[in-house]
Symmetry: C2
Subunit: 289 residues, 2 copies
């Protein structure tokens, strides 16, 4: 079992840990021990606890654990980025522990960074779930859209779609009207349709006006705002008619993005983000051995 | 002096009070006694205090004092709205006290409301500061853009530009980078230029990426975000090349909107919002006597 290792997708607030043998996850646990819950200097002990549970194995980690707020800043590799260029830039903060770097794009027009998503995005190709030339979307607080060419990330865009929804709900004047549940329902779809005019600042105040004038039932505003934001995000990314988006999501986010991308004229292929992660991190390890 | 009266522009957090004689403000005070600072049942006493200071005169009020959180809900009149249709719908919550209604627009495409701004917008025409056919902008937390035809408000749009800036600064991940001052400087102008691609969700995360990659000097992000938001707002409103915008603003907001409208291809005529208010409310009173 010398090829066995522990893979950790260690984010800000969550963590997913797998024991991997011959490219398959034989045990996986998900918990809320994101990097913010680790006390200063606490990463070696946290990793020792994982080894006590999953085996005294090499550990390879991705995500915010490699940021300047994590264990050790693993930096970023440039686009075009492949699993091989990422593997060549891992850092080793401790014996038998590796942290993989993020990816950046920096052109005269714009700059962007990702950390953690690169394993899933490139792993989707390694797993055979997406072709080497594709547009991939990984929804979340900071939504990632990546363009792959010949299996490399050549460009990507992060949209603060999820964060802005949370901000509006918690702190905006219209937040008090956003108590309802979000589903891929008629209200959500109406928001996606309304996003076509790309006038987000006016559409958001329209929530307040519709409420004052009694034009929207209570409980529908949250789904409508979600549709506005996700619709705006998808429309900005879909540059060709009937473009296929490989969607790394499941559950509610998968349903919402599938509806929005479809309304915006695209096609969706939903793919398994955990399987993509396992394939990606296994291949990174293979490049290093 | 039977034409003398007290005009109150009573907003959520601020209040501006003028004693008006023969169409001119002979005394004006501005204070922080917005409607939120008035205790339940406290409006009669607050008005009595104004009369003790400015004279035992009729009082005409506009703004949030006429909302369901104010003294008395004065409702809204429909577009096209004129000073005459507004005058015909005032409510009288107390002897010698009048509150003027807001204005709404409600079409199959969208709905919008204003309360308080209608006096300045229509008053600008009454004062001879803007023509009867014009696009007017009144910047603020909830920015108003009104289309006037033959001296009537026929359509308007509210954008939550100012509120979104405040939300991002106080609560977003990028808020920690928005500590700098906002001026109509190179950073602001760069944000206005960047707003041309109408991809606000990605541009906002770009603040974070630029910071991580060391591409923007500390202190410049606030002005850049302001430029992004105001630029986005102005570009959505300017539908003709070299369109003239009559801008009801002074100070920093006037400088920012003048820069953004100019970069977006429009022309600006700055007009005095207080003079507009006095002309508007005087004419409303004349229609009622």
């Amino acid at each position: 079992m010398t090829d066995a290792f522990i893979a950790v997708d260690w984010g800000t607030t969550n963590r997913r840990v797998s024991r991997i043998e011959q490219g398959s996850a034989v045990a996986t646990q998900r918990d809320g021990m994101g990097i913010l819950s680790v006390p200063p200097g606490g990463f070696p002990a946290a990793v020792a606890a994982l080894r006590a549970k999953l085996g005294a194995l090499p550990v390879i980690m991705a995500g915010m654990v490699g940021s300047n707020r994590g264990w050790h800043d693993a930096g970023y590799v440039a686009c075009p980025a492949t699993l091989e260029t990422i593997a060549s830039a891992v850092v080793q903060p401790d014996e038998g522990v590796l942290i993989i770097p993020g990816v950046y794009v920096d052109t005269p027009e714009r700059a962007d960074v990702m950390r953690g998503e690169e394993v899933q995005l490139l792993g989707a190709v390694a797993a055979g779930l997406a072709p080497g030339d594709a547009l991939l979307c990984q929804p979340g607080t900071h939504n990632k859209w990546a363009t792959l060419r010949q299996g490399a990330i050549v460009d990507f865009t992060t949209a603060m779609t999820g964060e802005l929804f949370a901000l509006l709900k918690s702190h905006a004047l219209i937040g008090s009207e956003m108590a309802g549940e979000v589903n891929a329902d008629a209200s959500f779809r109406a928001g996606v349709v309304a996003s076509a005019d790309a006038d987000l600042l006016a559409a958001l105040f329209g929530i307040r006006a519709a409420s004052v004038l009694g034009k929207r039932a209570p409980g529908e505003a949250a789904a409508y705002v979600s549709g506005l934001l996700i619709g705006n995000d998808c429309r900005a990314r879909l540059r060709q008619p009937e473009q296929t988006v490989y969607l790394l999501a499941d559950g509610l986010l998968a349903r919402l993005y599938t509806a929005a991308i479809t309304i915006a004229g695209g096609k969706v292929v939903a793919i398994d983000s955990h399987a993509s992660f396992i394939a990606g991190i296994t291949q990174i390890r293979n490049f290093m051995s």
